[in-house]
Symmetry: D4
Subunit: 232 residues, 8 copies
Amino acid sequence: MPDALFEDLGFAKVDHDRARRQGSGEVIYGAGKTPEQIAAIATSLHKAGQSVVLVTRLASEAAEAVRGLLAKSGVEAPFSYHQVPQLGMLGTPPAPDGNGIVVVAAAGTSDLPVAEEAAFTAECLGSEVVRLYDVGVAGIHRLLAYEEDIARAQAIVAVAGMEGALASVVGGLAKCPVIAVPTSVGYGASFNGLAALLSMLNSCASNVSVVNIDNGFGAGFQANLINHAAVK
Amino acid sequence: MPDALFEDLGFAKVDHDRARRQGSGEVIYGAGKTPEQIAAIATSLHKAGQSVVLVTRLASEAAEAVRGLLAKSGVEAPFSYHQVPQLGMLGTPPAPDGNGIVVVAAAGTSDLPVAEEAAFTAECLGSEVVRLYDVGVAGIHRLLAYEEDIARAQAIVAVAGMEGALASVVGGLAKCPVIAVPTSVGYGASFNGLAALLSMLNSCASNVSVVNIDNGFGAGFQANLINHAAVK
Amino acid sequence: MPDALFEDLGFAKVDHDRARRQGSGEVIYGAGKTPEQIAAIATSLHKAGQSVVLVTRLASEAAEAVRGLLAKSGVEAPFSYHQVPQLGMLGTPPAPDGNGIVVVAAAGTSDLPVAEEAAFTAECLGSEVVRLYDVGVAGIHRLLAYEEDIARAQAIVAVAGMEGALASVVGGLAKCPVIAVPTSVGYGASFNGLAALLSMLNSCASNVSVVNIDNGFGAGFQANLINHAAVK
Amino acid sequence: MPDALFEDLGFAKVDHDRARRQGSGEVIYGAGKTPEQIAAIATSLHKAGQSVVLVTRLASEAAEAVRGLLAKSGVEAPFSYHQVPQLGMLGTPPAPDGNGIVVVAAAGTSDLPVAEEAAFTAECLGSEVVRLYDVGVAGIHRLLAYEEDIARAQAIVAVAGMEGALASVVGGLAKCPVIAVPTSVGYGASFNGLAALLSMLNSCASNVSVVNIDNGFGAGFQANLINHAAVK
Amino acid sequence: MPDALFEDLGFAKVDHDRARRQGSGEVIYGAGKTPEQIAAIATSLHKAGQSVVLVTRLASEAAEAVRGLLAKSGVEAPFSYHQVPQLGMLGTPPAPDGNGIVVVAAAGTSDLPVAEEAAFTAECLGSEVVRLYDVGVAGIHRLLAYEEDIARAQAIVAVAGMEGALASVVGGLAKCPVIAVPTSVGYGASFNGLAALLSMLNSCASNVSVVNIDNGFGAGFQANLINHAAVK
Amino acid sequence: MPDALFEDLGFAKVDHDRARRQGSGEVIYGAGKTPEQIAAIATSLHKAGQSVVLVTRLASEAAEAVRGLLAKSGVEAPFSYHQVPQLGMLGTPPAPDGNGIVVVAAAGTSDLPVAEEAAFTAECLGSEVVRLYDVGVAGIHRLLAYEEDIARAQAIVAVAGMEGALASVVGGLAKCPVIAVPTSVGYGASFNGLAALLSMLNSCASNVSVVNIDNGFGAGFQANLINHAAVK
Amino acid sequence: MPDALFEDLGFAKVDHDRARRQGSGEVIYGAGKTPEQIAAIATSLHKAGQSVVLVTRLASEAAEAVRGLLAKSGVEAPFSYHQVPQLGMLGTPPAPDGNGIVVVAAAGTSDLPVAEEAAFTAECLGSEVVRLYDVGVAGIHRLLAYEEDIARAQAIVAVAGMEGALASVVGGLAKCPVIAVPTSVGYGASFNGLAALLSMLNSCASNVSVVNIDNGFGAGFQANLINHAAVK
Amino acid sequence: MPDALFEDLGFAKVDHDRARRQGSGEVIYGAGKTPEQIAAIATSLHKAGQSVVLVTRLASEAAEAVRGLLAKSGVEAPFSYHQVPQLGMLGTPPAPDGNGIVVVAAAGTSDLPVAEEAAFTAECLGSEVVRLYDVGVAGIHRLLAYEEDIARAQAIVAVAGMEGALASVVGGLAKCPVIAVPTSVGYGASFNGLAALLSMLNSCASNVSVVNIDNGFGAGFQANLINHAAVK
């Protein structure tokens, strides 16, 4: 069994090869894992040399527990927790080194947790992020006031619940790819984000692709990837 | 059995009381009816004094058959047929007598049949209609060029398939009610108009209500009603 | 950045231009916002001269917190809270000044919160409202007892869960537009309001349009708009 | 193998025990069967003494083929075909012998084929049927004109597409069970009868049960059963 | 306004005409009503002479509250509460006086609350009920042991969750109508009863009709109606 | 590039390693492939030594074309076509060499094409197959007449449309695994096989697993695998 | 009534014939049953001679209660409880006696409860189980490291949430049947396991069948059956 | 009205500003447009200086008609048509000038039309494309044979129907963003691509985003955008 490529913790096979294979290390999906499992995986990745270990969907009490367990197991790198996007981070993020900026646009105030997950993820991975919040299309002039930021972005994350129309309008204003994130914000026939998801998948703008409902992490991850494109 | 209120044709009970009760006469839904049935109902309504009888979802061959049958049964009022919206009309529409204009806005060229059904219906019932076609949100400046028409409308019909975002953007620019019509234009995850329907139902604009997918008739009917509001 | 049109609070861009653009000011969607955010937005709108600021989907504890925060920040206008429809209001509603009455009809006792949201919204915006509650179609004579109110309305809001049939029956009796509100009342195959929603979208009455499940606010808003149509 | 209970034709095991077990003989579902298969099953049932053999969902060309095959195989009982409900019948129906009448009510002209399938099935099995067609709820007075028929029925079949509201209104007027049949009549968000189906399943009337979309046969069968309940 | 037909309590219009119109009095749907509302409606019906008033979906604490309120308002008829089916009853049920028996068959132990709602409802309305519980089709011999009860029933209620197959097997054994009740028992792809609902709607047995998921009340009500068929 | 494992035809990479890796060779899914593509893949597999090459979902005209192309390219093995299951076969199937029998049970006559696809596939791969057709649960005695075959099977394929109840009943009678195949037979709320699919997934019998709607091939393939279990 | 085949406890008819008919005894589905019901059924099965009685979906507090009740009723066989898979067991499992091994593969750490339910079930019924956990396809080398285990299995259970791709990849590597278990792990458009379920049903590997979402028990049961196939 | 930004053809408002605003000109969605409309829009764009005008979803007969109309209106640039992806192109594509290669990977032979739409689109817009076809995950070694191409790509388009697992496996091997395109290839529970769509949206790989079912164009467009990212 090739032990260089992953470490087998029993409940998890930690992927030590990911940074080589994919350019950035493994990220821990916190939901449904115990603090003990999270701390063990984070420690394994940290010891294998991964400089920043992100933990997504981490509740604040679990974060406290993880912090304690990391300390106990002698991990010295700092562990910080960010409440709004429910993200934990072991290590220190790099200075921004992308080709330009990532714009994160959100339709409404209730979309902030998802938008912050995207923005913070991109920052942790080395991107400069410009945030445009509460720019939903029912007051289109609020969005148009930022046309310049949209025009100069390397990648844009568009976050919206309800009817999800923001993605198409932003798409029509942008030169770069737009990663659309439907959110579960809404009620009734939003069906927990389905309406926004379908809306975004059917965008009439050619530069819009979509990630899962509330997946701010994935959108931030991809926007950062695009922002670090390099001639190979 | 109260024969003043409806005529019983066996396959149909023609509603002669509708104009009194609802302010405008019965409209014939053409789909799934034979030309003979359509002609008989139209004749019954015409003879009962209804000045304009609309037939929706009428194929052109069926229209020809209806025309012949009406002639045979001695109906002298003109019967016209309008190809794009698939509408037949017995009688002559009134001169526009609403309080102002009805705007019909459509997102794309493929939405024209539904938009025309709305526009033509409103015209037949006495409204002046301003058409704004191909003003989809991926090129928002095309819509913004007509802000003035939107601002002065008594009622607006917003027609869009795919992601249906037009309704929210128009809603945010308008002072009046917006009747949104999702269309079945699109493919894949548009699910024959479901995406646009859900999008419109979740509009973040407070003045948007929605009718069935491809129901241009209903939207035009309601826009015309609003345009004829009267102090009672 | 055009600061006349909106105020940027960071988490929100408060739309000061809405009253000019749309005829009535911004309404605050309370769900998913903190009392601090709500109070700040309400204050911003109030200071910009908006005479009535509505807050929808506001829990009673949150309402208490908002009241305290408004007092602390020196807002002197009264803040009232209405339990059944979960609505908060900053300021004093205008005297009714519409063209006529708005009728709010509800099918069952369990539909009252949504019906009251519609009725109260329309009243706050200047409409006289007539309430017809528990007039579901399984006892059709209860509805027919109020045919006169239905016939003289400028706009009707029809609120129903379960099979949502009320909208079609009311539609067939009315001269004016009917805004149908499906509610999440029911169980099993009501699928939280989906059955009523689909039923209403497929209404055989031409004057029925539909808003989102449980969206009493939107229906009341639109009924009030229609009741204030500019009449020649 | 118990050969008294069924005959094995290879492609079918014809149920000769059904009349004893269930009170009426097997009915042949014609869709997806070849004329040869239909004729063979009908012959088997006829020879086993079943006086009336119904074939549902039988296209007219297939009916012609079946007629020829029955003749060839020496079956002397008459075979009739009924175009609107697409029903074939081998044998002669009994004189009506139920406890009272079965009412078949249909909302619109387009619902007639399904309504006729129900009515004809009930007649073939021995019920007197009263037909109320085009009594949809948007013109409620048309239905109310027949309150007396509804009040005296032993069982009612309510047939409707679109929003399917007829079932609830009829249910509220009737003393007897109502079998509701949603039809696929409609477009867009009717989703081929799903809207009517859900509407009927959520009926606020306690005496409504539902069969599959377009299943006129089942409704007629059950209404006839109820009409033949053994009475003390 | 015709006050003989209903009493207007403001939040409810109590239907005093139902017993005349439909043969049995109004039943109170307890979910979403306050004990005060329930007690007031029950009192109104009781005072109008209805001998048994059922309250469905009534939690035990609410039942206690209703009992107290009825006592306080001087209602002397007994109020009983039945825990498993969550039913309250004001008054004394009649002696069984139907034409025969109603069979209530349930697939599994977890389906008992719904099955008891059906059985108890039928008993309260005057039917003798035979209960066959835990006769799911995975052990078909358990059901076949009761073929005789099935064969002699006037009406059968078949209650099942998961795959809902019980309805079809019972249907194939019965001479009478079968009212199928899908339950929300199950997990995963049962989708809270949708699987059983669709299964029952597609039953290959001709005598099966379906009510809403978990609607034991409706099924018991209808079975009792069939059991009381009378020659008119 | 490892050319031993597959042959690259451009439009296809033919998997020559599958027989070694999986125990039986590649099967060609005929739908959406041209006769030229099918013939080329079949030739490639045949030349690589695969003794039987199955082609599923092959229309009869396409089969003729494939036959011609195979002949032209000098393939000498026989190519046979089987109309009911729409299967083509290049080569000669082995003599039955499984541990016992595979039973294929089908609910109705309309399910035969899918049942035959399963039966024929299992036979081609070396299983003896016993067919039980038209044993749907509405006439349960027809199925029970074959309890012995069910009890001695090594694996059972249960094929049913509509409510799909056959799988559970067979499951409860069998000692071996049951592979359930929902079919698209039915109408209305069968939603093209969805009802049967959900029913089978929720089977209360522990030994039932499910394949895709109409996937007779997969079921036959797996039943044959089970029938060839060997001690390793 | 045949009392040899089942014991009637009123709320349950305990199937004493299952072991004879199906090769292994009845398993108790714990969800929705009271500890009293569970203990009574377990006692009935134990006294009838069933050596191992499994209880699935048993919460830990309920397990404690069951243990106490069993002790009180004098059952002397050991009762053990297994936290992760929420399984109770009365009796002692047999030594492994299958034809080979069962492999249980799980995509992620969050899938462990379902995977353990499958593994433990198979072990209790007499299979040797090899567990491969956290071998999701986004790090395909982790799975490929265990190709040998996959190749020698008699049956494989593949457990995955989110996109469920594990089943297809494992299917393509295996010689034996693969029972796929979709889990409800995921969020947003996983729709509680629907995405994984559909993915697995559409597997391009011919040897994959599927059980209900989170049904680890069924998968383990079937894998064990296959592992005990009678071999010539 | 700002005529510099778009040309109003009545049925369309051709967006002349798009190249400036978005970096590449407008693309014509051919479905639902007449050849006359397509030719007119293409002419308008061509005359405004757009060097390549793509027409998607263009049937071959329509392409012939468009070619004739373009010739008639004096457009001299070449118009070519590509059958498999159903794409028309007016003008000559640029030489590849991206930062590296775009990889288009397709799971099966039936996915080729969509894959070619993506590949051809990217080529027309200036990207070098490497095609990897028939690399579905059921034969994972076929994909692994091309790990090097995957590792060096600037962007990858992953095209798959059925279970759509390809996207996740490719995602786990790639350093760059993966645009996943679900296709409608499959049957039964693929629900015309819904299974693949959901699967891709739930990908456990962080670098996967998704476009609409069968939207090869959008994926190719975005992959090309990423391949042309401005690099420091």
